[in-house]
Subunit: 427 residues, 2 copies
Amino acid sequence: MSAPKKVVIVGGGFAGLNAAKRLCHADGVDVTLVDRRNHHLFQPLLYQVAMAGLSPADIAAPIRTLLSRCRNLRVLQGEVTEIDLTNRVAVTDFGTLNFDYLLLACGAQHSYFGHPEWEEHAPGLKTVEQATEIRRRVLTAFETAECTTDPVERKRQLTFVVVGGGPTGVELAGAIGEMSRFTLARDFRNIDAKLARVILIEAGDRILTQFAPELASRAVRELEELGVQVWTSSMVTSIDARGVEAGSERISAATVLWAAGVEAAPLGRKLGAEVDRSGRVVVEPDLSIPGHPHVFVAGDQAHCPGQHGKPLPGTAPVAMQQGRYIAQTILNEIAGRDRQPFRFQDKGQMGTIGRSRAIVEVGRWSFAGFFAWIVWLVVHVYYLTGFRNRLFVVINWAWSYLTFRRGARLIVEKEWRSQSVANADHR
Amino acid sequence: MSAPKKVVIVGGGFAGLNAAKRLCHADGVDVTLVDRRNHHLFQPLLYQVAMAGLSPADIAAPIRTLLSRCRNLRVLQGEVTEIDLTNRVAVTDFGTLNFDYLLLACGAQHSYFGHPEWEEHAPGLKTVEQATEIRRRVLTAFETAECTTDPVERKRQLTFVVVGGGPTGVELAGAIGEMSRFTLARDFRNIDAKLARVILIEAGDRILTQFAPELASRAVRELEELGVQVWTSSMVTSIDARGVEAGSERISAATVLWAAGVEAAPLGRKLGAEVDRSGRVVVEPDLSIPGHPHVFVAGDQAHCPGQHGKPLPGTAPVAMQQGRYIAQTILNEIAGRDRQPFRFQDKGQMGTIGRSRAIVEVGRWSFAGFFAWIVWLVVHVYYLTGFRNRLFVVINWAWSYLTFRRGARLIVEKEWRSQSVANADHR
């Protein structure tokens, strides 16, 4: 029997984790998964952390715990900085890793269209830290408004701008609208939390372009019922500490959130393969890169053409299927079988708006409202990795739903040191 | 009917919150509670957050939610910077507040005995931020050890020093010992997590001095069963990035935690009243300050003599009883009744060691072990404020207990911005 093939997986997101699970216990492979973070994050529910509905630990779990039963697999926390394709070596910040097969699945990060200085004023939503930062900003705005006597400043504190009309932007805007109307309204004395303004800004002529126009219109109506104004054909031209500029218009807002654009993780550019405008690596039909059949790219980092010519979207189902496909391709090859091209099984798409509404599209069939929300809930709870998380999320949601309360309304500071705080008068 | 009396409460800890609850719905008072933070924190379980057993939101709740039914009461998030006793005005960072009665209950923070530079290397455990910082350091140490090939560095990463042999130090040391032996052991490949060294350093000649010597000895034995070494009569003389020095001894440790000393919040020193060595305000038998019967100090910020002459300890029961007593004293005075001196009802004390052991002392009766832990668990869950928290904490504990897993093993970074991270290669 020959030595096991060394498989290195970079990234423990949906693609990497699902590849690792498929390779778990398989004969003939010795797997190393490397991630900068110690945890796998269930990104589709990250907006719930930002909106104080869930705790970070409800939707994140240590990668090594999720894979602890796999004896042919080890998990290392660290950063891959270079890939040497010729010698088949991944260079990390803790040493080098040789590989026979490599899977790059490092995901994507926010892109500010050449304005990195906007990030300071308009955080995006990709990591747990960003989610708690958004939570801190939104809750602090309400607290500051409660202490303010100046009506202009109060209005600015109660104005929330979300940039980007994709699913994440719609989720964030809907959740802020709902939170201000139902959850916070009864807790404040000086302000009427229901007067909060939520503005969703989209550069294109409509929101949710990946959905059918009727479904997107339905979403707009449901957003409006939560007090969210949708501004389409508005291109943001400036973001600073006071607010947002979109062409000749200007909104004073204490809180601006960014859900407008993503770009692939930069490691993909170091492969020497073609990348698209967003930095995604253009892959072959088997998700390998040209000339290097033992190097695969998957998930948000890959540019993979779909059945209609358009590249597959950066969603969890795509990443999960790609991860499993690549693992199976490696196992097939070790067993001497030929490669098959990757085919994405599209099971439909969905998005949620506020507490109890959603839109669902499955093939040509689409529906919206409360039943759609139930479908959305069941699907998301089902896919949420690990039994504990599922159980907790259901209880937490049920609680929020029954009481109109939000479970995790903590304002957590960025600084933990007490001595460096100038006026540490009271907790 | 005369105008309601203005009561200002500074601090939403156990003393402030319990005073506010007693004043809720009462006639003749108009209450303002000011806190720097938006949440009340159940500090006795904060070590569980640091040890990844609970999420921050499990033991913290927004103060305004806890008091939202009290129509005569408002909650403001802000910082009180000065007290003008003559004009009865509290100066805050958002304006001034007039008061007829003032309750100062700002708590305490860590004291590094004149070495504030130690805090960088040895975080204490008073806030949610500090708890997640400790969690980050402890979990990162195991991850780093897993990636390290140098045995000396690996040993340093797996060495944990806890400074201070009081209840918090014992809880932390016991929990690290237990976590390394049961929870993490099966998740790592390169290191044997059970080889982790945990050292509890105490300057005095024994730990847990507030407990009877036999009970403290029992605690030492139980710590040793979890692999914790207790070093008594060891005075820490230096802490740096590499480890700890105690006199002529030196330990290389990647993680040092501080549980050795506290000092009262600095606002107490601005009252002009006598303060003790730890900055606590020396109060009259009715918890007011000399010459100002309408100004009260309570909780960790007050120096209040107990029945045996020793000042009352900085524990939750003392703060809760003081808060309720002060509220009742104010209500009595408005009703024209005389003041009674404060009497602390001592219901006993307890401490926990690891997953399923505790020590309990009630009057002259004391016991230890698993039954003591059940008592500890019931008491803590009962007192944990707010129904939701109680339910969640029980489920979470039950889960951790049954599975030997830890629910919140997230390593969360301090920086949320992606653009400022030099090598944002993968998530």
